[in-house]
Symmetry: C2
């Protein structure tokens, strides 16, 4: 059997490796348009922060290891450009200009996503960059070095934008962040978003939310981002306004698309064509809280859905119930974590949400070094179900959130969650974990 | 209605406060034999480690606050000595020598537990101490100061013994630990127990497991612990060989006892007498994994069961499904965490256990500062259920364990747990959380 994978990062290489382990005789070809496979994309901000570390530190397994040790045909520099579902083949364009067709019995689309660049005048100027692939990271790192970058304007204030802002400050580069929307982190409770905002600003970052971006221009050898009521000058501009699934190849082949133009897949990662699967940032998923489709492109889902697609292609029958939308990021000294739905998202999904926000401590009463942890917890008034949890704190948010995530997978009520036996020792938290304190309070509201 | 509480620490004061909030007219009397109520017992090792901090820092709420702000009659220095279930009263002995009877409609026994002192010659010598109450902590702290303690022998190697060992080393006191059993931490996989052992020994602590203790004696102004093949000299001896429930008052009153002589309670915290409840370290609990009774005296359960008993006494009908045995402790630079059953405990409970131990990292591939995390995960071959998880690492064990704990409350299979959406960002872990890696491996074994 011939298994072809389009895209050689998290989902694609996870699938190829897994399929080969499942079925050593399988003929597997991976088409990767860049020269890199299997790297830690999420590690790029931290790598960029350290000029001493080569970007290739982030490569988890080089293409040659997949080729020689696993017998997977990895074609880097090869773009899977068009799928012919009737003939069951993929039209491939190589970097050397040649092109050919490759036949498949089963196909996995793992094309990932691309960063959105504002569709505005001037955004094709040199020095305006975005971060998604390792090639992007390599270019940014080189650009900073070659151009002695002293100031960067970041468009957007999402988690990648914030991680990059921290990385640039570590390099002592001046940073300003600008975006059209007035709210700093819209999915976070205002008080908790303020905690993050203060942390960012106290690291000498200038934040300009609520400014409509009009165009970019060159001005005296520098770049200028012109807004309706503001102009920001910089040596480099980083677009961090979001990403969009690389689903054109699927749409062109007549495959069904879902939310945000992601490729629609069932719980077995199958598209609307039974011989074609999709996994990773290009594909959608079910949300375990709403039971409905969602598109939350994150690394764990990419790896896991790659595995599951491979298992199903090999006849193993693996179903993924879905994602809880669990995510965490670090920004300077803060951990920001979420799982499930915000009150607004919950209302939109048809729940009758109630929520509380509480302040707790990261360590026990009287234990030295304790920090504030803020928690928002969301529940459903009708069913009593836990719907979401959000945490911000200097320590103890990143892993704590997982207890709530597991509760969401199990459709626990807030009351049942409030009686779970969580760990306690003075260096690690109060007797009542901040999540339990939030749950105890939320019970009263629902 | 008259509500009497015997014992004024975690469970007792939680119950008294909660009952008063539920029912402001309730007449509540708390009998506490020591002079302290509502303190963080678990914080004592960390307080003892710092000579500058008064031990009373650990008091969460002084008795007068309960008296004046909440209208709870708190009788410190009053021992609840005997229960007359027919007459519904408690015989009370005061520190001033007087005694009286106090009548109850509903009674809560929250007498806690006491540390076990070896029943061997010489263990009543001055300088041989144990740590449980704040009075114990006060005495130990004073003894160290007054006697210029340079060397301590700790009997036992459980978590309190290890926390105290760290505290004493912080005071630059020489520490030797001795116990009869040859295995260092019997419930931990040998490889993980070795990781802890190495950490303790690398902090210049001498460990002597497998030595039968024969007697204690005084020798040239110092203390000597004499074992069958070893004698250890010290300025102070700390017994950390375990605790035993303070259940004599319940047994004398004819109430049913359970495991380890703990007071047997149902899921509503009721004893075998419908007017008498028990909560905290003196009472047993159901285990959410086995569904059977267990006795795991820990702080969260004490607080929570105090609340639940109060709610039930006030007619609220609260059921606690039970404990998962989740626990964590810090010893020097290591976090040691557990939830659920070890393979041995699982086999004893009638499961057919399989387990894996894996090594993972506390941060992402190529992220600086990453440390080793070891995980043991236990599952049931028959049902596929997750039964337990154990973690040791320099960072990231304490809160991670809670995800597995919540899974245990929900009787998740290992396979279902392996598909949960846990958080990921490079500073906080690998894409596949160590718990997920363990689950992925364990699936193959069951």
């Amino acid at each position: 059997m011939k298994f072809v994978v389009i895209g050689g990062d998290a989902a694609g290489m996870s699938a190829a490796s897994r399929a080969k382990r499942n079925w050593p005789d399988l003929e597997i070809t991976v088409l990767e348009k860049t020269m890199d496979v299997s790297y830690s994309a999420c590690g790029m901000p931290y790598n960029i922060a350290d000029p001493e570390r080569p970007i290739d530190d982030l490569v988890v397994r080089p293409a040659d290891v997949f080729r020689k040790k696993q017998g997977i045909k990895v074609l880097t520099g090869h773009l899977g450009e068009k799928i012919d579902r009737q003939k069951q083949n993929v039209h491939v364009i190589s970097r050397d200009g040649s092109s050919f067709e490759i036949a498949y019995d089963k196909l996995l689309i793992a094309t990932g996503a691309h960063p959105i660049l504002p569709d505005l005048p001037g955004f094709d100027l040199p020095g305006i960059m975005a971060l998604k692939s390792l090639e992007d990271g390599r270019k940014i790192k080189q650009y900073i070095k070659d151009n002695d970058v002293k100031k960067v304007v970041i468009l957007g204030m999402g988690y990648i934008a914030l991680e990059m802002c921290e990385a640039l400050r570590a390099l002592n580069i001046e940073v300003a962040m600008v975006k059209p929307r007035a709210t700093f982190i819209p999915w976070l409770h205002p008080e908790m978003a303020d905690m993050v905002k203060n942390e960012v600003e106290s690291n000498s970052v200038k934040l300009y939310p609520g400014h409509k971006i009009l165009h970019a221009e060159q001005s005296k050898g520098r770049l200028k981002i012109v807004c309706d009521d503001l102009a920001l000058t910089a040596d480099m501009v980083l677009a961090g306004v979001g990403i969009s699934p690389n689903s054109k190849i699927a749409a062109d082949a007549g495959l069904e698309l879902g939310l945000s133009q992601s490729i629609s897949v069932d719980k077995m990662l199958k598209t609307s064509d039974e011989n074609v699967y999709a996994a990773g940032d290009c594909a959608d998923a079910y949300h375990v809280v709403t039971g409905k489709k969602t598109w939350i492109p994150l690394a764990l889902r990419a790896n896991r859905s790659g595995w599951a697609a491979a298992d199903n292609i090999c006849g193993k029958q693996v179903r993924l119930e879905g994602v809880a939308g669990t995510a965490v990021f670090k920004v300077f000294n803060l951990e920001v974590a979420r799982t499930g739905l915000s009150p607004k998202e919950a209302a939109e999904a048809g729940f009758d949400p109630a929520f509380v926000t509480i302040k707790s401590r990261s360590r026990a009463h009287a234990h030295p070094g304790s920090k504030t942890i803020q928690v928002q917890m969301v529940g459903d008034k009708k069913s009593g179900r836990l719907l979401g949890a959000f945490m911000v704190g200097e320590e103890g948010a990143a892993h704590r959130i997982n207890a709530a995530a597991v509760a969401l997978h199990n459709h626990m009520t807030v009351e049942a969650f409030s009686t779970t036996d969580l760990s306690y020792a003075p260096p690690f938290g109060p007797v009542w974990d901040p999540l339990l304190t939030a749950a105890n309070q939320l019970i009263k509201e629902i």
